[in-house]
Structures are given as C-alpha cells and as structure tokens.
Symmetry: C2
Subunit: 279 residues, 2 copies
C-alpha cells in the first residue's frame, strides 16, 4: 500500500482504534492518516495546511447529531463539506485477556457508545458501574489500567490494537446502527448529478413565520429536504440556527435559485457545501 509523501494527508478524530479511523480507511485506504485529539483540531489542521482533508463524525442513527461538529461548522470553521461517508457501527465488549463476564464491575466507553448500548448494559450488567471516557480508544486504555474487573465498549479494531479479548459482538441496541461522517476541505465537491447540499440559516426571533417561507422556496421548486435541525444560537434559549440538508448541487439551476431566495430572507446564511450523496 502506498503511504508515501504524495498520498493525501487525511486528518481524523483519533486516536487509532476509533470509528472515525475506520471511516477514514473506508474513505481513502491509501491516505496518510493523521490522528488529532479533538474535532476542532481536525479542522484547524486542514485550515493550517497540515492536512489536505479532515474527517469527523456528524450524526449517528441512534444518538443523533454530534454537537461539536455542528457547532464547528456553524461558528468556527471556514471549511466545506466535500464528501459524506456512512459507516455501519458495530460495538464490541472487550476486556483484559482472562477476565470473566460474570466478574465485570465496571464498563468504560464514550457516552455516545454507552447510549447506543444502553439497553444491553441495563439487561446484562445492571449492577456494573458505567464510566464515561473521551473516546472509545481512551475507554480501552482506561479499562486495561483499571483496578476493577472491567470491560470497554469499542470497535473491533481497538481489541486488536490494544491486545484486548472480545467478550461480546454487535452489542448495540439496534442492529442497523450507522454513523455519517463528513470530509472537510477548503473546497466542496463539483456536481455529480447525485448530490446533497448543506446550509445553515439564522432567522430573526421577531419573524417566526420566516422558517415556513424559507422552506416553501424549496418545496415550490420540488427540492426535497433530507433533514432539518435546530441548534442553539449560544446567545440565549429560544434562538436557533437551522441546519438544512437538501437534495441537489448548489450549481443546479433550481437549487441555485432557491438558495438565492433563501439568502435574501434569512438574517444569516452559511453554505456548508455540496457533495455526492452517499447511498
């Protein structure tokens, strides 16, 4: 495999052994992978030219959006979404070699992973202490260093990387558990004919009907909305940014016309980018 100096430098929300590393490998197995400790650091690495692109999680089918990524796109970053990558997420229960399931006193993982396995944990380990960690990889490290008989919830690859034994496979509460990752870069993607566009809007609090007016700009042009979501403005309760994903590329004439109309109606408009729709 070529990981020489000419391959793409891809920053990811690391360390190795996280689902984002899996998504990075699924996106570009030949890229030079650069782990960064936070989602904001991945974006900074791309903005500063230390990496060509960066990959971060944005949404999980069970737990919902990843707030740190949405807030980064809204408030901090000038990067665009260039690609989306959808990965099935299978959680594994792992422990030090020799640990027995009946002895487990503590379960470590990232809160998102704990949330995705909530029912499994309540049923199988109602008395175990649940311990939050900052990443699934950190959970495995903390589990291995724990004084108690403990397990961690993490991707299968983490068991190989850290030499842990797998006690249980696919323990998430819903078989169809998927995470959507986005690739951030200084430019978005050219049109492919099967695209999606993500935008962010702010609507003044004194014009509550404005959201419907804006959505009509899309529905009257038969542009389908894939998603609409609100995020707090960080000013005060009751003020929101709206994040809208719509079908089509910003260069498609009906989408371009709708975006121009929306831009004139919203008091803030930010284009996150157009990119190929993952199916």
């Amino acid at each position: 495999m070529d990981r020489g100096p000419l391959s793409k430098r891809l920053a990811y929300f690391g360390p190795a052994g996280t689902f984002t590393e899996e998504a990075a490998l699924a996106y570009d197995a030949l890229a030079q992978l650069l782990p960064f400790p936070t989602i904001a650091a991945v974006a900074s690495a791309v903005e500063a030219g230390m990496a060509d692109e960066g990959i971060v999680p944005i949404e999980n089918s069970l737990e919902g959006s990843v707030p740190a990524t949405l807030d980064l796109l809204i408030h901090e970053s000038s990067l665009f979404i260039r690609q989306e990558v959808i990965l099935p997420i299978d959680h594994y229960l792992m422990a030090r070699v020799g640990t027995q399931v009946g002895d487990l006193k503590a379960i470590f993982s990232h809160p998102q992973a704990l949330g995705q396995c909530r029912r499994f944990l309540e049923r199988c380990f109602p008395k175990a202490q649940v311990v939050a960690a900052l990443s699934t990889a950190a959970a495995v490290e903390e589990m291995l260093a724990s004084d108690l008989p403990a397990a961690a919830i993490a991707p299968r690859r983490a068991a190989e990387l850290y030499g842990a034994a797998v006690l249980g496979s696919r323990i998430q509460d819903q078989a169809s558990n998927e995470t959507r990752f986005v690739v951030l870069a200084k430019e978005d993607h050219e049109s492919t004919g099967q695209d999606k566009t993500s935008i962010c809007l702010y609507i003044p609090a004194d014009r509550p009907g404005a959201l419907v007016e804006i959505l009509l700009e899309f529905s009257q042009r038969t542009i389908n909305l894939a998603k609409i979501e609100s995020r707090p403005s960080r000013e005060s309760l009751g003020r929101y940014f709206f994040l809208v994903d719509l079908e089509g590329h910003r260069a498609d004439p009906p989408v371009a016309a709708a975006l121009a109309a929306v831009r004139s109606k919203a008091s803030m408009f930010k284009l996150f980018g157009s990119y190929p729709r993952s199916v």
Copy 2:
C-alpha cells in the same frame, strides 16, 4: 420548612449537588426531593407512583438538547410536560482544599459542562487531562478521590456538599448560560393564557413536502413556533421525528384546530403537553 409527608414528592435527576437539584428547589422549595440516578429512572418513578412529579433537563442554551430526555418523551414515557423551569447555569471550578491552580493536572466534569467551558479550559489549562464523568456531582467525587492534583467543574452547591474549595467562578464560555428543565407528571397543565405546547411528529419518508404542509397549519392560524427540532427515528439514517414547540394551549380553539389538522397529516403524532410559558 415543611418537608412532611403531605408535601409533593418530586423525583429529580440526581444526586444532590447537580443543576437538576437546583432546578427542583427553584420549582418547589417545599417538595420532598427524591434523587434518581438516570433520566429514565425519574420518569419510571413518576409512572410507578413513587413520586408525584419528576424534573429533568431538556435543553441548554450552549450545548443544545439533552438527547436522553427527548428520546424518553418520544419512545418510552407516557408522562406529560406539566411545567418548564429555566435556570441560569453558572459553573465553578473546585478542588481539594489546599490545591494550587498552577498544579492542576486533570479536570473532571460531565461532558455537557465540559462543553460549556471548552474555551476556558483550552485557555487556562491547555495541558490538563480532561476527564468525563456521568454527572457534575460524580465529577466532584472522582476529583476528590484522584491521585493527581485535580479540579472539577460543578455547581457552587456541590462545593458546599462535598467540602471542596472554589478556585474559579462563572467559568462558562458565555455569561448567559441557561438550561431549560421540564417537570413530568401524569397530566399536563390547565390553560393559563400564557402557554406553550410541545408535540412530536413522524412524517413518512416518501412525503418530503409534508413538513412544510404541517408548518403551514400553524403559520396560517398565526400560531408562532418557538422551536422545531429533528431527532433520529432510531431505524436508519435519514428518518426523523420532528419535535415542535408552539405558543398557546392545546385547548385554545386555533391551536386545537391546527393540532387536529396536523394529527391527520402526520403518520405518528404524540402530544407531550401544554404548560405555562416561562419568561
């Protein structure tokens, strides 16, 4: 203060020393407070008649919605929202008595609190290890038990309860940091003339224009929407429940007419309740 057997039994997302306990005291200082370890446990306590009402956080002005509360209302609970309580959230940095700020090697808190103080932590403690805990109260306990010189981020009351020393006050990134809590009960609130109604909708994936049609039912009757938010359906990516907060009581004639129309258009409709608007 009367905390006798005839006062209201109010379950809250505890333990003592969390912001939810503060909200419970602000809501009803005479109630008999019953701490429960999870948001789901608070609801179960009310459903089973172990408590008359329960209070849980639903939304923060910096970090956004509390997914566990939304998912409980959507998927699990038959309780109604009877009241909302808005509390200013001030975070305090606290440590064992005698610990010096310059020595801190680790900072413990709940991920929501860590998120609300992200900039403060990056500026003042760029090298400290950030450790996630399951509640702000648990963070204080873990900090006190830590081998490293450590601090915790928690409400001021936690410092008193656990005998910790306050090192820094109001360290959140935005002065206007507020959390909205909801009181859950077997019945919602009668009309007061200054109300809000929360509903949940599911719209079939093959009718993308249906959301706009539904929102028009409100805007055509000049019913203001206070909030619209999407939550994953837990089935697969791209399927969402929509949570809508609107102004008015479900018994007000225009609201009743709009809700009847919406109920016939959505493939799933759930009323979370009508309750007095907090201002």
